[in-house]
């Protein structure tokens, strides 16, 4: 190991001079000595990347800098660890370079339940609510907690609801690492959350879909169909038409869409189940599913319906109904994104890269 490398190491034993001699006082190799702290220069490039990556939503920590512990405003006795919120595109890319992940697009008009679904996917782990899935970590825990708040008793809200994603946020990502109980290793996901107005815009201008990173790099697109709207006689046809318009736009404009899987996700099933129009609403959803399959069966890699109730407002349907099945669909297949800045990789090339990385 070079002296340059060793110079960055320190030892908790005050008598050891490894920093200058490159030799462990107790005769351990530098890789084995349990008293060494800090990292070698040969490692530090990766470590610096990781220090940037592991605090994706805030200023990266640079251990080489005298200002490493400084906060904005000049206080120099505090270390910031970042992670206050969800990831923007830049910070999501940083995370991907360190940890390739599958990008999951969750698409639908405003109030369809996108953020609710995202919060439920995470929150159910807190109760051990999944039979086949285990939580493996998240770099956006604070962000998840924030969006879960409005569905908890602590919020003292009148009804469970989702906080609306502002269109000014463009797109944000929530990181979730999940392991199938039968699998050897966890899988990382970036759940994309964009305001419904921006997906309405795609329906109106299909070419916009090419600029949406969650379509360009996504493995699964989940198009949400608002169960509340299907129960409403005045809204039901518009709800189906909206979903169809978005799918039309995706099919027309997104490159390599034949490797994109499409999930049609009925939301707010608690309201559907309790409604006098329950049967009609389910018929509408099933009809929409068949229509999409007939029109785009050869376009998407698969088209699958799901029924969910992420945050029920009425009892009778358990919280998180159907969400485990949905997450399991995300686990199927193994394509991952390694960098938003890189062109999307085809399925076969992606598997080849992952194999090389794992070797």
């Amino acid at each position: 190991m070079s002296k340059t490398s060793a110079a960055k190491r320190q030892c908790s034993n005050p008598d050891c001079e490894v920093a200058t001699t490159s030799r462990c006082l107790e005769g351990f190799s530098l890789d084995d000595c349990p008293h060494l702290t800090g990292v070698a220069a040969a490692d530090s490039d990766e470590a610096e990347d990781e220090s940037a990556d592991s605090a994706p939503a805030a200023q990266p920590i640079d251990s080489e800098s005298d200002d490493a512990s400084s906060r904005d405003g000049g206080e120099d006795n505090l270390i910031d660890i970042g992670g206050e919120g969800p990831l923007d595109v830049e910070n999501a890319s940083r995370l991907l370079r360190r940890t390739p992940a599958s990008v999951i697009a969750i698409v639908g008009p405003a109030e369809a339940g996108k953020t609710c679904l995202i919060s439920c996917a995470y929150d159910t782990f807190q109760y051990g609510g999944y039979k086949s899935l285990r939580f493996s970590g998240s770099q956006t825990l604070m962000a998840f907690e924030r969006i879960c708040h409005s569905a908890r008793a602590a919020s003292q809200a009148g009804v469970p609801h989702e906080e609306r994603t502002s269109s000014l946020d463009e797109i944000v990502f929530y990181h979730l690492s999940v392991q199938d109980r039968e699998a050897a290793a966890p899988r990382d996901f970036l759940l994309a959350d964009r305001s419904g107005e921006l997906y309405d815009a795609v329906a109106n201008q299909p070419s916009l879909a090419k600029t949406y990173v969650e379509f360009e790099h996504g493995v699964v697109v989940n198009v949400l169909v608002d169960g509340r709207g299907l129960c409403d006689s005045g809204e039901r046809h518009a709800v189906s038409a909206q979903a169809r318009s978005i799918i039309d736009a995706l099919a027309a404009s997104v490159a390599d869409f034949n490797k994109l899987r499409l999930n049609l996700v009925l939301t707010k099933y608690d309201l559907v189940a309790a409604s006098e129009q329950s049967e009609r609403a389910m018929e509408d959803f099933n009809a929409l599913t068949e229509e999409i399959k007939a029109a785009f069966g050869g376009t998407f890699a698969s088209i699958t319906p799901f029924v969910t109730a992420a945050s029920p407002q009425k009892k009778g349907v358990e919280k998180g109904y159907g969400v485990e099945n949905l997450i399991r669909s995300w686990l199927a297949g193994d394509r991952r994104c390694e960098d938003f800045a890189a062109p999307p990789v085809s399925a076969s090339r992606s598997m080849g890269r992952l194999s090389a990385r794992e070797a």
Partner: protein, 313 residues
Amino acid sequence: MARSASIIVCGLPESGKTTYLAALWHILGAPEVDNVLTLSSREYDDYAYIHSIHQRWLRGHKQIHTQALTQKVVGLDLANESGNDIQLLVPDHSGETYQALWAQRQCETYIGEALKNRAGIMVFINVDTIEQPRPLINDLADADDMAGDEGHAAEKAADDRAAADQAVASSAAAPDSARQGQPFNPAEAPDQVKLVDILQSLRQEAFRSNHRRVAIILSAWDLLAPDEETPEAVLKRELPLLHDYLETGEHEWETKVYGVSAQGGEYADPEKDDGIGEDTQRLLEMRPSERIMIVDDGVESRDLTLPIAWLSP
């Protein structure tokens, strides 16, 4: 000269860290307790803090809340069964330190240095105060149950359907009024979320150490007193998110779970002048070391040095 190693005692407020240290000091000096680690010398020359918390423990007094701005270090000169000496330094950081790591996403530099120079971590969790976040729908369902009448089930079912349709209309028509409530407060996040986040943060460059061992200490174990359940089973049941995180993932933490009762019961709070309660009186009448219990791999003992022995390099 003994090797020096630092064990971080970590946990949220009121998780039992200081009580453990006080009880640990006691059993190190108790001849009736067989310990894996024993006191080998008094080379560390500052026992004021450990003596003060030990005295409170002996008297059956609750520990004074560790203040955030003070840095107390417990120094222990120990030897293991092979006769190897080690000087353990145990910074007794306040629970607010770790609360701030979660809520404000920052910590003091000296805390960061201590975390980085660690030989191991003990994470304390008070099993008596664990609360899962309660879904709002549960409160609404309970309200419905209280208002319902079992003798009119069919009428109620019809009313439910109509109410659901009304909810469909009203949630769209008056979203703002339905959404009023308290703003999100990070401090109110579930403990297991905070602990996962703290452990994830310890893998950042600012805190990274070569040492990967984490001892999970479920404190107030006597209040659970599960006859059959192991500490691991309790962790899985009560803190599934944390349990999953420790079991899975590529974080490389090596963990062990202990159940610890360092008090044996309820202690008096002399600040409140309530006198000595019945439970405290019971504890004061027994040999102090008999208040202590630790469960490790299904075996009960009083040896509070077991987690330290496992963590020590």
